[in-house]
């Protein structure tokens, strides 16, 4: 963040503190979403370092928080004005800078090593199984016999469930996995974890996105008799 005027450390820290918690934000003029004022949670702002008017901060926030806007608003409250100078995303969902981060050069090099020289080691470090994208999403593990119906978009019924992770609430997003650890689909929970285990029947998860190709597992469901 670059400040447009001089501000002391003490005051800067105090205002940054004020911007943690729920904040109101109206999406900017050029934005991907509807421009209505909405609430976003800023969990934490760390004041890392500064050099005159350049301030380096680390922000933990909810998805959809406009950081450029946040910097602007901090400037307004400080009274001197400010703008976002540079932004780097250091974590999103289950991805972070710490593990398996690849540059464009890594992508090109590893692809050529595999394509032209048959070396798989490097491209396997660059292209990760899609399951990596949902490491942070609670899992529901299902029977083979329930898989193909889900691949065709059917909701997940309780008898198809083998295991459930704790902490799932109604309307939470969940990841449906096979016993082999393959991601089958993503869905919305219609029951809590405990109910998914204790209920005899009922729909546990509404399928929203199917990731596995239909036909990967045999279809076991009853087809309508014509």
């Amino acid at each position: 963040m670059k400040l447009h005027g001089n501000v002391g450390d003490k005051r800067l820290r105090k205002i940054l503190e004020e911007f943690t918690g729920p904040i109101y934000q109206r999406p900017p003029l050029r934005s991907a979403v509807k421009r209505v004022t909405r609430i976003r949670r800023v969990y934490k702002i760390d004041f890392l370092e500064r050099e005159g008017r350049y301030v380096l901060i680390k922000i933990w926030c909810e998805a959809g928080t406009y950081i450029r806007k946040l910097c602007h608003d901090i400037g307004e409250v400080l009274g001197v004005g400010a703008h976002m100078f540079e932004l780097r995303r250091i974590r999103a969902g289950s991805f972070s800078e710490k593990a398996n981060l690849s540059t464009l050069q890594d992508v090109i090099d590893s692809y050529i090593l595999w394509k032209e020289h048959g070396i798989e080691e490097y491209i396997r470090r660059v292209i990760l199984p899609m399951e990596n994208a949902v490491l942070h999403v609670p899992k529901v593990i299902i029977r083979d016999s329930a898989i193909d119906a889900i691949c065709h978009g059917a909701p997940l019924a309780v008898p198809g469930i083998l295991q459930v992770e704790t902490g799932i609430k109604v309307n939470d997003i969940v990841a449906i996995f096979s016993k082999k650890g393959e991601l089958v689909a993503i869905g919305k929970a219609l029951m809590r974890s405990e109910e998914m285990v204790s209920s005899k029947k009922g729909i546990a998860v509404k399928t929203t996105q199917v990731l596995m190709s239909p036909g990967t597992y045999p279809s076991m469901w009853k087809k309508a008799v014509r």
């Binding site: 998805a63 959809g64 950081i67 450029r68 540079e86 932004l87 780097r88 995303r89 999103a92 969902g93 991805f95 972070s96 593990a99 981060l101 690849s102 540059t103 464009l104 992508v107 090109i108 692809y111 491209i123 396997r124 292209i127 990760l128 199984p129 899609m130 990596n132 994208a133 949902v134 490491l135 942070h136 999403v137 609670p138 899992k139 029977r143 083979d144 898989i147 309780v158 469930i161 083998l162 295991q163 459930v164 992770e165 704790t166 902490g167 997003i173 096979s178 016993k179 082999k180 650890g181 393959e182 991601l183 993503i186 405990e194 998914m196 285990v197 990731l211 596995m212 990967t216 597992y217």
Partner: protein, 86 residues
């Protein structure tokens, strides 16, 4: 990340004749369905970088997820993960 425990409803193994453990996928399969945690350079847009990756890997379907300012991205099916990575 919050630590979760597993509740067991029933025990059953998966039939080895169908599907595949994710780590056993071929490179071709990975390119078709995998994800890349990409360190996007400052300058080109996420959209442009996505197009370059599409060309490099010669894939049909590709998408990125992550805000306007800096992305996480992948191929093909990643389209479906976008709601996690606004």
């Amino acid at each position: 990340m919050r630590k979760r425990e597993i509740l067991v409803r029933d025990e059953e193994e998966s039939d080895p004749r169908y599907g595949k453990i994710p780590t056993e996928r071929s490179v071709e399969e990975l390119i078709e369905t995998g994800v890349i945690n990409l360190d996007k350079p400052v300058g080109p847009s996420s959209h442009e970088v996505t197009a370059w990756i599409k060309k490099i890997l010669q894939v049909r379907k590709i998408a990125h997820a992550g805000t306007l300012e800096s992305p996480n991205m992948g191929d093909g099916e990643i389209l479906k993960f976008q709601e996690f990575y606004q």
